[in-house]
Amino acid sequence: MDGFVKTVNRAHVASIDAALETAHADTGYEDAASEAWGDTPHPSYPTQPEAVFQTIAIEAAYSERTVLKNISFHILDKSITAIMGPSGCGKSTLLRILNRTLELTPGARILSGKVLFRNQNIYSKGQDPRAIRKRIGLIYQRPVPFPMSILENVLFGVSFHGLPGDMPREEYARLYLKRVGLWEEVKDRLRESANKLSGGQQQRLCLARALANQPEVILMDEPCSSLDPAATRQIEELIAQLKRDYTIVVVTHNIAQARRISEFALFMFAGTLVESGPNEKIFHQPETPLARDFITGKIG
């Protein structure tokens, strides 16, 4: 952030500071930080029973460095939400908090706050992180095909959790390869190594692998940033199709992409949530000068 601030002029620095001030003042940072884990709702954050996700005053840190401050928002069922913001603003960290994968990073900790998934705190005692990760899938920025065949890649998670019913393995894999539009391209080489696929094909394979787990939510961390424009379009079309059955959260630093694919947007800056709401509001009538500058391309 330091490097970034140096590159903008004084007027901008002032507007950024003002925005951060408001962000802190609005949400009662100090109160939330002292609150312990628990299932009782925070007085200033009424529960949103219709929301799939509701986060309440989350703070997170890598070792001693606080990277997320007082993040509260909610996400509606079967919607597409984009998390936007410049590099290093904490959007990927926030995404990983939503399915308990942040704790896989050494040194990463959640200091306080709550994440309610279907009105249950996924961080309360007795919650099995594996069960949560199965219900909330995550697609990474760089596709990671596992060192095994295409078929085994698709079935990797579901082989562990148990295939539903008595469906033959190949039949099951075909279902999800078709779902991501990969079946026609790979049907003759299901037993070949997944490393031979192109980048776009690998990313769709990773999506099929996550879908085969039968999740309710799909989180995506800049799923197109390592892909060419054609592969990007395929993934974006897939996201639009998947919306019928899944709740989708996409992290992106690409404003145009967020505008194209999402219905709701969260705008983050330097570890704080600056503004959130439906696309029409965020993209056409942003409330904060910071969000306005980001949307119009002055910062980012």
Binding site: P129, V144, F160
Partner: protein, 281 residues
Amino acid sequence: MLSGKLFWELWADRLFTLASWILGGLGLFLPVSIVGFLIYRGVQAISWSFLVDAPKGFPLGLEGGIRPAIEGSLALIALGLAIAVPFGVGGAIYLSEYGASSSWERMARFAAECLAAIPSIIYGLFGYSFLVVYMSLKISLVAGGITLGLLMFPLILIGAHEAMQAVDRAYRESALSLGVSRLYVARRIILTKAWPGIVAATVLAAGHAVGSAAPVLFTASVIFSRGGLDLTAPVMTLPTHLYYLVSEASSPEQTYGTAVILIIGLLLSNSVATLAKGWKQ
């Protein structure tokens, strides 16, 4: 014209290149000359009967072959690996995939490195006092096998741990984000990616153990056996047989012949290790 400074830098560079070539050549020349010398002195002794006969003559080993020593060494290593591989690889999986805190991982790794640095004669003494005497296993194949297992365990643990640490973190994160267990990830991804390194470490550890006389001297070996393997009976081994032949000084050909067989075995195992390291998934 070159300026003075550039001129000297050019010459310093040439001098350094020459020195590297000489030192590098020496590094290649030493092992080649040792193996060459052994083969030159020992090749007459090597024949089919040298490999398949028991030692004969007086002093023993003057004639005949070294079959019981080859058998004994292979049996000891097989037994040792049967102990060291599961514990070494299992320990590495624990440290790499489960290790609760990084300070605990570093401590365990430090302990393993200390264990690997213990002189082999100390393993021999431990095997003798603990296994042979205290556990009453007597001087036997089983006592020697366990001692060699202990010797190889830290080497395999360290090698396997390194190989697993070299596997891209992204595999672990992607796999665990699907809600599977760490053991499942270790079994299906980490071991698949790390096995060439594990095989290489295992073969190098076995090569080190098969050439060490000290650990088996007091725990497993005898001067003469007719062959045939029994867990509770002592065996002949290649390094201890070599030791007896050298100390008797009666038959240089037989001595060098035994050394050649041992060296060829080690060269083969090191080649396997090098091949395994280059293996790609």
